[in-house]
Amino acid sequence: MTSSRLFCNLLRENIKRQLWSIVLLLLAWFFCFPVLSAMDMVDKTISTLYDLNQIYGATSPMLTLITVIAAIVLAMSCFKHLHSSRMTDCYHALPVKRELLFASQYLAGVVIYLATYLLGILAMLLVLMWKGILVKYLLANVFYGYLMFALMFLLIYTITVLAVELTGKLIISVLGTLYLNFYALIVYGLFMSLGELFFSTYSSRSAENVFHVTQWLAPFSRLYKNFELMDQRPKDCIFRMSDHIWNDQPQLLSRLEGTTMVVTPLPAGVLLGTLAMLAVLLVISVVLFKKRRSESAGSAMAFSISRPIVKFLTVLPAGTGIGIFFYMINSERSLGWLFFGTVCGALIVCCAMEVIYQADIRAMFRKKWDLLVGVVLSLLLTCFFRFDWGGYDRYLPEKEDLKGVSILFSFEDWASRWDLSSPKLDYNWDYQLTEECYYDMDVLYPLLEYLTEHIPEEEVAKPGYYAVTSEVAYGSYKYDSVYVSSWYTLDVTYRLKNGKEVHRDYTLDLSDSKLRELVSAVYESEEYKEMLYAIYHEEVMDCLAGLSMQGYFDSVKYTDTKASREFLEIYKEEFKGLTFDEVLENQSVYCIGFLIDPDKRITSEDDYYHMETLEYPVYASFTKTIAWLEEHMQLELEQDFIDGIQRMYIYDNVTGNSYELKRSKDAELIAALSKYLVEENQFMIYDGYRYYVELMAMQKDEEEKWEDSRYYYGYLASEDAVALLQNVEPNEK
């Protein structure tokens, strides 16, 4: 008998053995495809088409669930003979090469999944065609989904087969499947926790680097990442069109062709990587199937060599993980509890593993050396992180090894808080640390050196409040010291000449005058400002369309582009001279918004239309800027707004008193206080003014009628308010 004929015979017989799996899958697809699509088909509109594309597309949660379950069940079922010595003997006695046996069993599961899935799709399309839905607009998503879910199935199926091959009992195989899928992620999570707990300069971006590796180590994390990549509508997706287009069906249908994808197709590199991962898993599976001894059926672990490996790979993170659990739940956070937890965890897990291996509770202490080694290694791992034996916190590359350094001060996070969708201008939270780079090491390196040499003690490095000894403006009052609401940090990405990137997050204790001096030097350098702020980036400011004045309850817009550019030049010059001390110690006087016109960067006229605003502070030292603003923009509150204030709630940060003023009896006082109102904006120092204010105000509509009331939040920015409130009876505390 030729091997191909033998293979076909075996495949056919193996598929026949999976009858119940076939029936269950057919049932699942039947309800999932023809039945659900018929139920979901509310009408023949585009929204139905969109819903169907979503439900049966490549990121469908329902199809994901069915695929994952099908992959695990089919793998367990097709290779179940590996759990029973009777069945193993039956198969291994056959005159068939193990590779051929593997292929026939492996493909049986794959064929069942793919064939039944395809049947489900065809049945659904028939139902939809019968109901008059334009199925051709579904095909791209449905069949792309078919391919992507086939890939997902293969990955989960293969890793489950691998788990079955490595083990000899059903329950252990299930645990093995979870282990192979989640081990890397769990260890990743543990290392993140250890880093956060014990390293003062730990950066979560270091963990991201680890995740870049772990996502290729386990199918689950790979699939999660693939989902993340696909789970966004492509730019040319018809379903991104604005509402009026959606409702204009003839126009919409005419444009549907080729633009119906509701997901972003997986990048070719990622797809190839995923296929390579599948190929590696498959090769390992074949080798293990060939190497696996028949007598392994029924024993916990099929390969004796894997026993100690799996045991110690489990015991180490488990011991350390339980150690930090004890450490964290204990308020003292003492080393004693850390080590107690580590020892207990390592011992318990080591014993449990041996019990599982030998299926005998009395075997728990049988391997005493393993217990000892497990405990010692777990303790060493814990100590490695706790005492930073690897020198994580002390890391500082040589100056000459550095190509540049990306930096992000926590008080500067606003500078990247804008969301331009164009890929070219896609500034986001991490932009400063991924795209921007500071090169003047003569200015920056001393700061980094100082930070590395002065790592704060563990407790100081924890989140909390940090004292700023300098005087901070507090409305009309000044205090020697106030607590700021968040600690200051400096996030750093060292970019080395060898291409390596190393991340660290330093805590800045600005009560240290030397440190403050070093930070000021960086902040006040020309390179820093030109690097960080979008106003110095020509490709952004080319899109400048106007200005908006924030902080006056109803933002004022100014759309003279030419004049706005003139203002920009004035502002840029003054902003460059802004000192670090001024930022820390003074309230911004105004908040100015630079309006960026999306039309200049997004070609699709139907795309979401929204103007971006880049907000910047204006300080008292910006005299030319303020003069320009006073000349060109309305900076005082309009009388209509003041007349609309119905209620004013005031809280005194100094005395703790609160006042509630109502228009009906305090109209004059409200009008007087309104002169000092400033709206809350992001550049204000938290609680930087004495009086916090909440307003309920009514506004006039276009027909000069009072419309619904709205709430505003702000401060009273003058010491005159003290005198005005002197005779007002405060609320009861």
Partner: protein
């Protein structure tokens, strides 16, 4: 021809088979006997290419059997507790094996199923233990392989079926030189079918011999001598394997050709003597006792 060369196999710390060597010639019935745990099944699984030996090798027709489909095509292994697919009928099992063994005789299978009274469309799971044994034997015989390995196959068969199976084996041996290898812990089961036997004990083989040779070479003689005769002197010329005495009645197990023994007995002039038939069991007891083993405790 099956050649087993210094084969060993351990499971964890337990040595199941320890340095066994044996040869099985074609067209004969080889019996593997031994107590539970003697290593019969392990040896047979290695011979069937299921288990890989730790050391040594099994050659079937000159080729290593493990992972060798060409050789395994000539082998059908019937385990003690054969596996049948869930909800399978004899017809399903027939289809499965027919798709693997190209010489599977489906007509004969159908015919023999009828002869054994087994229903083709009945689920195997509803069969009794004996019926399952019968089915696996029929599948094995109809697979048309040169070698048929039966592990405790006769255990559970009633005497009638046992005879029927024996006659099928006899026919197959005669017609196509089939070589059954039968493992059993029961000597009496193999006595009338085996040509050659190997005795396994604690993973090792005590001996492997041709049954006819053994039967021809060992004889039991009962004899009685006059009181004044010097029995020791009279029996000095015999190769005595075992001697029992009750009064003046001697029961002797002697090694040698029957004619020579009769001639020597005649010359010794006993009051009477009689050459008795020796059962396989007795032959084994004698042989193994000579080898220093208390076989009664092993196989009886």
């Amino acid at each position: 021809m099956i050649e087993i060369e210094q084969i060993s196999k351990s499971f964890a710390d337990i040595k199941a088979v320890d340095g066994i060597s044996a040869g099985i010639t074609e067209g004969s019935v080889y019996g593997l006997i031994g107590t539970n745990g003697a290593g019969k099944s392990t040896l047979m699984r290695m011979m069937a290419g299921i288990l890989k030996s730790d050391s040594g090798r099994v050659l079937v027709d000159g080729e290593d059997v493990f992972e060798n489909p060409k050789v395994k095509k000539e082998i059908f292994y019937i385990p003690d507790d054969a596996y049948f697919f869930s909800n399978a009928t004899p017809a399903d099992m027939e289809k499965f094996y027919a798709s693997i063994y190209e010489r599977f005789d489906r007509a004969r299978f159908a015919e023999m199923l009828g002869q054994f009274g087994l229903e083709k469309k009945r689920r195997v799971s509803t069969f009794s233990k004996g019926m399952k044994k019968q089915l696996s034997i029929l599948l094995g015989v109809c697979a048309g392989t040169k070698y048929l390995f039966c592990d405790e196959t006769f255990d559970g068969l009633d005497p009638v079926m046992r005879q029927a199976v024996k006659s099928i084996f006899a026919k197959e041996i005669e017609e196509r030189q089939m070589t059954p290898v039968i493992a059993s812990h029961n000597l009496r089961e193999l006595e009338d079918i085996c040509d050659h036997v190997g005795l396994l004990h604690k993973g090792g083989i005590l001996f492997s011999k041709d049954l006819d040779d053994m039967k021809l070479a060992i004889h039991k003689v009962q004899c009685a001598f006059e009181a004044n005769q010097d029995v020791t002197e009279l029996l000095a010329g015999f190769d005595i394997m075992k001697k029992e005495q009750r009064g003046r009645l001697y029961t002797l197990t002697l090694r040698g050709v029957e004619g020579d023994i009769i001639a020597k007995m005649e010359a010794a002039s006993p009051i009477f003597y009689e050459v008795l038939p020796l059962s396989l069991e007795e032959i084994f007891i004698s042989e193994t006792e000579v080898a220093g083993y208390d076989i009664k405790s092993l196989i009886l």
